[in-house]
Amino acid sequence: MTMTSSWTAVCAAADIPEFSGAAALVDGQQVAVFHAGEGWYALSNWDPCSGAAVLSRGIVGDARGEPVVASPVYKERFSLRSGQCLDADEVSVPVYPVRVRDGVIEVGSP
C-alpha cells in the first residue's frame, strides 16, 4: 500500500504495550512508534511545540474517535493518522509508514 522502498525493523510488537509509544532511531532520525489499540502508527518524535524529542512519551488515546498522542510537555494533541496538531492549525509533524511483519514492527521512510 505504501510506496516505501526501505523498511527498518525496530522492535517486537510485544515490546510496546497497548496505548503507549516508544522512540526508535531510523536512519538517524528519532521516530515515535505508537500502539493505539486499533493499530500501529509512527510520527516524528520531535515535538514542535516544545522543541524536545519526546512525543513517544505522550499519552495515547482519542479525540472524538481520532487516535491521538498528547505531548508530555505542554499537552498539545497530534493526530496519529495525519500528524496534524489538533490544538494549533499551523502545526504538524511528519508521519512515517509502519507495519508489523511476523510480530516485528517496521518503520519506513516518510
Partner: protein, 834 residues
C-alpha cells in the same frame, strides 16, 4: 486636571478610589490620598484574624497601593490636620499643602474610651489597628509565666472579637459589659443568654450588667474594680466600648456636624460645603452614623458616581450583621428588637442544640421584619433578603430544626432582594449577569458583579442562583467521561475495578485521553492497586509518573530523593553530591527543603536511583500529584523559641503520607512556634506548635493565587492532630476535582470550612471510620516506587532511550555550562504555551 483629595485611607476610602477609577477610565480626576497609618488600607473587619498569622499581608486589600496607576497618589503616614475651605487646600502634619477641587473626608472613627480612672496606665489598650494588636501582643508576651489574664471592657461585637484575639494569644479573657446581655445592639435577651453560655464554654468569663469603676496598677499587673464589687487581677486591659466618628477636621473648618457627632451630610454624602464630601464611619448621613462597612461602601459609591457625572444617593442601609465569634454563629438583621408597632416575635430557643432563632414579623404574621440567629445562622442570607417581604411559609415552620422545617430557597427571593449586602448586589442584577452577560460560574459572577468578594457569606447562594437559572456547571471529566472525578472515585471504589479499560468501557466512551487516563490512574493508585507502573497502569501515567521523575523542557528529567522534614546527615549529603558529580547533574536546593538533580536522561534514571536507594534514599514523589514535602523549622530541639519538636512531627507526617496519590500535589509544613518559620500557613496543611499542643491550618497554597491556610482545630494533641489530617487528606482525595488543590476545594464545599470541620471533626456524615481505615491501609501498603522498578526487569526495560538502540544517548539532549554547572541547550526556541 481637577484634583480630589481623600483624607484617610481605610476600607471605605479605598473603595471610593476603586469606584472612582473604575468609572473614570479616561483619568479626568487626579486623586491624592492621605493615609495616617504606615500601610495602605487593609481589611479592618478581619482584624482579629491577624492573630492567626501576625502577618499584615494576610489583611491586605487587593490593589490598595494603586501600583501602576498614575492617576492616584497615595501618601502614607501623612495625616491631614487642617482644611482651608476658602483656599481649597488641606495641610498635613508635615506641613505639606495640597490644593483640591473636591475633598472627601474618610477619617473613620476613634475608639471610645470612657473616663475610667487608670485608663492611661501602661498595659491598657484599644482595639482598632494592626499596631494596636502588635502592642497588645508585645505586652502579652512580656508578662511572666503561667496562664495570663486579660480584661475586655465592652461586650459588643468588637469586644467579643477582642476577647477572641486575646484567647488566641493564650490569655484568659474576662469580658465586662454594662448592658444586661452581650451584644446588646444586635441580639435580644434570649439570644444574649445563649451567646453568654456558648462563649463561657470557650474559656471566656463574662460579667454583664456592671461598670468598670477603676483600674489600678499592682506591681507589673493591673487590678480592675467593677461596679458590682468584683475585683479582677489581670495582665492587660483592652477598651472596646464602641467608636466615635472622627469629625475634628469638619468641626475646625466650620462644617456642620451631627447632633451626636459625625460630619453632617445629605443623602448624596455632601457636607454643608458643596466641594466637600464625607463617607464611612466619620459621616452622619442625614444625622445617622453607621459603624459597619457596608453602608460606608455605599457612601463611597455614591460620591464616586457624582464626581463622574452620574447622580446617586445613599440607599436604605442594610445594617444586618453576621459573624462567627469563637466558632459561634451570631446574626441579626432588620428590626431585630421588634421596634415596629404591632410587631410579633416568634422564637425557638433550643438549649440542647445550642441554637436560638427569632423572627420578627408584622402583626398579621405574614411579612418578615427582622430576626436574630445565634448558634446556627445558616438561613441568614435568605432570611435577610426577605426582610420587608411576604414570608414563603408560616414563621414557626421556618424556624423548625433542619430537615423538618420549610426551607427558604433562592426561588422565594424577589428580584430586588439583596443577595450580597457588602457590595449591594441584588438577585435581579445577578440573574441578569447570568442570563444576559453569560456568567456561567461562581468565579465569573464574582468578577462581573463583585458579589461575594467581601465577606463571602453569599457565595453558596451564587451557586444556587446559577443552578436556578439553569446554568449547569459541568463537572464532566473530559469527552470520555460525563462523571466528575469524585463520582468516578466512588464508582471505582464501589465496583473495585482495577483497570482503565474496564472503567472506560463500562462507564465512559472511546479510548480515553491525557485528562482521564492520569485521573483514573491516580484513583486506582489511591485505592491501592500496587506499583503505579504495574499491570496496565504504566500507559495511563503522565510522563512524570511514568518515569518517576520530573520532565524538564529539553526532555531530560530531574530526580528528587525524599529528605523527610529537610533533615539529612552529612553522609547522605555526600552520596547526593557524588551521584550528581558522577552523572553530571545540575543541582539546586528546592523550596521544599530538598535537593533536585537535573539533566538525567531516561536510561540514566534507574542507575541514579540504584545509587540513591543503596544509600538509604527513596523516591521523593516530586513528580506525583501526591504529598511532596513536609517542610519544618528547626523546632524546640535547637531553637530558643520553639515550643514543640517540629522536625520530629514533620518527619512523622511526611513518612505517613508519602506516596498518597491525590487530585493535585499536596504540600505541608510544621512550625515549632507562632513565629512560623516553616511558612506552614502557605501549605495545603500546616501545623503550628502552641504551648498546649498543635494548631492545624488547612487550604493554603503559594502559586499564582496565594492563599493562607485557615485554622481548622486548635491546641490538639499529636494523636488528634494526625487523625484530623488523615481524615482531611482522605476526604480531599475522594471528593476534589481533578487538579483542584485544597484551597478551591474547601471554597467550593457547600458550607466551606465549617462543613469540612463538621465532617472530619464531628463526623456529621458518619464516614470518619471509613476515612481512618482508608488512610491506615495507605500507610500500611506504602512501598518505594523507585525500588519497585529496580527490582522488576520488565519495568526496568522501559527505561531505555531507543527501543532499537538501547544505550545510545538521545542526540537531541545537550548541555552547556553556566555558573559552573551544566544547563540544557534547546533545539529551536519553543513558544511556551499555557
Amino acid at each position: 486636571m481637577p484634583t480630589v483629595v481623600v483624607a484617610g485611607h481605610g476600607m471605605v476610602a479605598h473603595r471610593f478610589v476603586e469606584a472612582l477609577r473604575a468609572a473614570d477610565a479616561a483619568g479626568e480626576w487626579q486623586v491624592v490620598v492621605f493615609g495616617e497609618e504606615s500601610r495602605p488600607a487593609y481589611d479592618r473587619v478581619a482584624l482579629t484574624s491577624y492573630v492567626d498569622s501576625w502577618d499584615p499581608a494576610a489583611l491586605a486589600l487587593p490593589g490598595s497601593d494603586y501600583a501602576g496607576d498614575d492617576a492616584v497618589e497615595l501618601r502614607l503616614g501623612e495625616v491631614v490636620v487642617s482644611v482651608d475651605r476658602e483656599a481649597k487646600t488641606v495641610t498635613t502634619a508635615a506641613g505639606h499643602v495640597q490644593p483640591y477641587d473636591s475633598l472627601v473626608l474618610a477619617t473613620g472613627s476613634r475608639p471610645f474610651v470612657p473616663p475610667v480612672p487608670g485608663r492611661d496606665l501602661p498595659g491598657v489598650f484599644v482595639y482598632r489597628t494592626i499596631e494596636d494588636l502588635d502592642a497588645i501582643r508585645a505586652a502579652a508576651e512580656r508578662q511572666g509565666r503561667g496562664r495570663r489574664a486579660a480584661m475586655v471592657i465592652g461586650g459588643g461585637l468588637l469586644g467579643l472579637e477582642a476577647a477572641k484575639a486575646l484567647r488566641d494569644m493564650g490569655l484568659s479573657p474576662h469580658v465586662v459589659e454594662m448592658a444586661p446581655r452581650l451584644m446588646p445592639l444586635q441580639v435580644d435577651d434570649g439570644g444574649g443568654g445563649l451567646l453568654r453560655r456558648l462563649i463561657a464554654n470557650l474559656d471566656v468569663t463574662v460579667h454583664t450588667g456592671t461598670s468598670t469603676d477603676a483600674i489600678e496598677a499592682d506591681g507589673s499587673r493591673l487590678l480592675a474594680k467593677l461596679g458590682n464589687g468584683t475585683e479582677l487581677d489581670v495582665d492587660l486591659v483592652v477598651f472596646s466600648a464602641g467608636v466615635r466618628p472622627r469629625d475634628d477636621l469638619a468641626r475646625e473648618s466650620g462644617l456642620d456636624v451631627g447632633e451626636r457627632g459625625g460630619v453632617l451630610v445629605d443623602a448624596t454624602c455632601r457636607t454643608s460645603d458643596s466641594a466637600v464630601y464625607a463617607i464611612g464611619e466619620c459621616a452622619a448621613v442625614e444625622g445617622r452614623v453607621y459603624g459597619i462597612v457596608a453602608p460606608g461602601y455605599a457612601m463611597a459609591e455614591v460620591v464616586a458616581a457624582q464626581l463622574t457625572g452620574t447622580t446617586a444617593s445613599f440607599p436604605e442601609p442594610d445594617t444586618a450583621t453576621k459573624l462567627k465569634l469563637m466558632g459561634v454563629d451570631v446574626a441579626s438583621f432588620g428590626d431585630a428588637h421588634a421596634a415596629t408597632e404591632g410587631a410579633l416575635e416568634v422564637a425557638v430557643n433550643d438549649a440542647v442544640a445550642g441554637t436560638y432563632k427569632k423572627l420578627v414579623v408584622t402583626d398579621d404574621g405574614r411579612t418578615l421584619l427582622g430576626g436574630v440567629l445565634v448558634g446556627d445562622a445558616a438561613e441568614y442570607n435568605t432570611l435577610r433578603a426577605l426582610v420587608g417581604r411576604p414570608l414563603p411559609a408560616d414563621p414557626g415552620a421556618l424556624l423548625a430544626p433542619a430537615g423538618g422545617g420549610a426551607a427558604v430557597g433562592v426561588d422565594a427571593l424577589p428580584d430586588e432582594a439583596q443577595v450580597c449586602s457588602c457590595n449591594g448586589v441584588s438577585k435581579g442584577a445577578l440573574t441578569r449577569a447570568i442570563t444576559e452577560d453569560g456568567c456561567d460560574s461562581v468565579g465569573k459572577l464574582k468578577a462581573c458583579t463583585r458579589a461575594g468578594t467581601s465577606c463571602g457569606s453569599c457565595v453558596p447562594m451564587l451557586a444556587k442562583l446559577l443552578n436556578a437559572c439553569g446554568v449547569e456547571q459541568s463537572k464532566a471529566l473530559c469527552e470520555h467521561f460525563t462523571q466528575s472525578r469524585a463520582e468516578l472515585f466512588e464508582i471505582i471504589r464501589a465496583t473495585r475495578m482495577t483497570t482503565f479499560s474496564e472503567v472506560v468501557s463500562r462507564y465512559g466512551t472511546g479510548t480515553g485521553c491525557a485528562v482521564c487516563k492520569p485521573a483514573v490512574a491516580s484513583i486506582l493508585a489511591t485505592l491501592g492497586n500496587g506499583h503505579i507502573l504495574g499491570g496496565e497502569q504504566a500507559p495511563l501515567q503522565d510522563t512524570n509518573d511514568r518515569f518517576l521523575a520530573n520532565m524538564q523542557r529539553n526532555g531530560s528529567y530531574s530526580v528528587v530523593p525524599r529528605i523527610p522534614g529537610g533533615e539529612i546527615t552529612p553522609e547522605k549529603l555526600m552520596v547526593i553530591a557524588q551521584v550528581a558529580q558522577d552523572f553530571g547533574l545540575y543541582t539546586k536546593i528546592t523550596g521544599g527543603q530538598r535537593i533536585d538533580l537535573f539533566g538525567a536522561t531516561v536510561d540514566q534514571l534507574p542507575e541514579i536511583w540504584r545509587r540513591l536507594v543503596d544509600a538509604g534514599f527513596e523516591s521523593g514523589h516530586a513528580y506525583g500529584k501526591s504529598l511532596r514535602t513536609v517542610k519544618s523549622c528547626v523546632g524546640s530541639t535547637w531553637c530558643r523559641y520553639g515550643v514543640q519538636d517540629s522536625v520530629g512531627l514533620a518527619i512523622d507526617l511526611e513518612l505517613r503520607y508519602r506516596g498518597l496519590r491525590s487530585p493535585h500535589k499536596i504540600k505541608a509544613g510544621v512550625s515549632g512556634c507562632a513565629r512560623e518559620c516553616a511558612e506552614a500557613r502557605g501549605k495545603d496543611f500546616g501545623v503550628i506548635a502552641t504551648e498546649h499542643g498543635w494548631n492545624l491550618y488547612v487550604g493554603g497554597n503559594g502559586g499564582a493565587t496565594p492563599r493562607h491556610a485557615e485554622l481548622l482545630v486548635s491546641d490538639v494533641d499529636t494523636e488528634t492532630l494526625v487523625r484530623t489530617i488523615d481524615r482531611f487528606l482522605m476526604f480531599y482525595v475522594r471528593t476534589a476535582d481533578r487538579l483542584q488543590r485544597t484551597a478551591p476545594w474547601i471554597e467550593e464545599l457547600d458550607g466551606g470550612l465549617d462543613h469540612l470541620r463538621a465532617v472530619i471533626v464531628d463526623d456529621s456524615l458518619g464516614i470518619c471510620e471509613d476515612l481512618d481505615a482508608a488512610m491506615a491501609k495507605h500507610v500500611e501498603g506504602y512501598t518505594d516506587e523507585w525500588r519497585g522498578v529496580l527490582e522488576d526487569p520488565d519495568k526496568l526495560a522501559r527505561f531505555s532511550s531507543f527501543v532499537n538502540a538501547p544505550g545510545t544517548p538521545d542526540p537531541s539532549i545537550s548541555f552547556r555550562e553556566e555558573r559552573e554547572q551544566k544547563i540544557p541547550v534547546l533545539l529551536g526556541v519553543p513558544e511556551v504555551r499555557r
